[in-house]
């Protein structure tokens, strides 16, 4: 365990510093262009997730590439510097970089054309030849431009101003973070109660079910290793829900180790419920099992290196719960979701034991705790007297004082 901790910690440091030296090479001087699109406004340093510049007047500026890197035109993303007001109106626009065919899109870059986006509300439709002018022979590029502006400004507005523009984003923001806080408090309270009385263990199942519904389906934001990366890269989101999820997870880590995994994680919950189906489990020798459990630390080290070197958290994402609950992924990630769900029939909490980067993260940060000897119905299939990093604190086997 100590070796793993040292390995991961040094990976963080090396990747972080190496990445720092690798990055600045082709950085666009956004500060310079800020003065161009909003000459009279003083902006803060870039911060938050997605990254943006704040100002006293309430105007927010951002590089669209930080927000929606995946929207591409004919040849890659169109990077824009945008500024929007707290009323959700576009106040400044500038194309920083693109790889479209110059002679098709030269008009798109001109102030006469871009100027038409100024004063538009981010709630507008941004449809070509309706509320956005098309350019002959540059249709693909213009569509990408309009989509980049629309999506990135909506995401930023919802993060910074709490503005809800997407049609499907049901529920107000207060409701969201309060509901997560409730479900967390429920788990924490019953965590301590079940340490005293085994009769209350059934409550954990209710909590897990609620976690699937609320954290998973309603909020679609289970705790992800990407949260940690954004924190390390100093790109915290200003959304309250994000802060609540981060803070509660860290608090629980200090007081109750992998409480999140055992009580809150919606993917863990589904895995555990599937694992309870009456199917004979594979019998895997303890040594083999132990060896494979180390895999998640190696994977964590790999994605730490990838993300901190590239400064792109999305590169390190293979988490099944992100795919499943955001309903967003490619064939490969969906395949992984399917496999890791079905595998639970034969091996309890397959994903949590061998692959999950959050499990690795919470595992190495779990403090020593007495009273968890494991037993035959351990939801993690832990061996007797397991390492505390493998314990998800379901309290079934708890033998403590009281």
């Amino acid at each position: 365990m100590r070796r793993i901790r040292i390995l991961l910690f040094s990976t963080v440091i090396i990747a972080l510093s190496l990445g720092y030296f690798l990055q600045p090479g082709k950085k666009i001087d956004e500060k310079k262009y800020l003065g161009e699109i909003a000459p009279d406004i003083n902006f803060s340093e870039k911060k938050g997730s997605p990254a943006h510049y704040l100002s006293d007047s309430g105007v927010v500026a951002f590089n669209t590439y930080d927000v929606t890197p995946s929207i591409t035109g004919y040849a890659g993303p169109i990077k824009l510097l945008l500024s929007i007001s707290d009323k959700g109106v576009i106040t400044g626009i500038k194309i920083l970089e693109h790889k479209e065919t110059k002679n098709y899109v030269h008009y798109m870059e001109r102030p006469e054309y871009l100027g038409r986006f100024l004063g538009k509300s981010i709630k507008d439709k941004f449809e070509i030849d309706r509320d956005v002018d098309g350019i002959s022979r540059a249709t693909v590029s213009v569509e990408a431009l309009a989509k980049t502006i629309r999506e990135s400004s909506r995401i930023t507005a919802s993060n910074v101003y709490g503005m809800d523009v997407s049609s499907e984003g049901a529920g107000r923001f207060e409701v969201k973070w309060i509901s997560y806080l409730l479900i967390f408090s429920f788990s924490l309270v019953f965590y301590f109660l079940t340490r005293r009385s085994k009769r209350l263990l059934r409550a954990r199942d209710w909590g897990l079910a609620a976690g699937i519904l609320i954290t998973g389906i309603y909020l679609s934001s289970p705790f992800s290793i990407l949260h940690v990366f954004n924190l390390i890269l100093l790109r915290p989101s200003s959304s309250i829900l994000w802060l609540v999820i981060i803070c509660t997870t860290f608090i629980s880590l200090i007081v109750a180790g992998r409480l999140y995994c055992g009580w809150l994680c919606p993917f863990g919950a589904i895995s555990e419920f599937i694992g309870r189906l009456p199917v004979r489990k594979w019998s895997v020798p303890v040594e083999t099992d132990d060896r494979w459990r180390n895999l998640k630390y190696i994977l964590l080290a790999v994605i730490i290196a990838i993300v901190l070197l590239s400064r792109r958290p999305d590169y390190g994402n293979y988490e099944t719960y992100v795919t499943l609950f955001s309903f967003h992924g490619n064939y490969l990630t969906w395949l992984l979701v399917a496999i890791t769900l079905i595998a639970n029939l034969k091996i309890e909490r397959f994903w949590c034991r061998y692959l999950c980067p959050v499990a690795a993260f919470t595992g190495i940060l779990s403090r020593k705790a007495k009273g968890y000897p494991s037993r035959h119905d351990c939801p993690m299939g832990n061996k007797p007297m397991p390492m505390i990093s493998e314990c998800i604190r379901c309290n079934r086997c708890y033998k403590g004082r009281g």
């Binding site: 591409t72 020798p285 994977l299 999305d314 590169y315 490619n330 490969l332 061998y354 692959l355």
Partner: protein, 66 residues
């Protein structure tokens, strides 16, 4: 097959899958744009353009890039 062999197989498979996902994350943008675009163009050419009996007459006024 014994349980342990099945387990090893599954574990190795999922590990490969994770590695694939990570490489796709990183190289997907370039890979898809380059190879995917090429395949798309090539398939369109072979299936549609070349069957139409159009000419392949060497053009005037062009140069190699790079």
């Amino acid at each position: 097959m014994t349980d342990i062999r099945k387990f090893r197989l599954l574990a190795i498979l999922t590990t490969i899958l994770v590695v694939l996902i990570l490489s796709y994350n990183i190289f997907g943008e370039y890979f898809m744009a380059e190879i995917g675009g090429y395949l798309q163009r090539r398939i369109y050419y072979e299936r549609t353009i070349s069957k139409k009996g159009l000419s392949l007459h060497k053009g005037m006024y062009w140069k190699e890039k790079e």
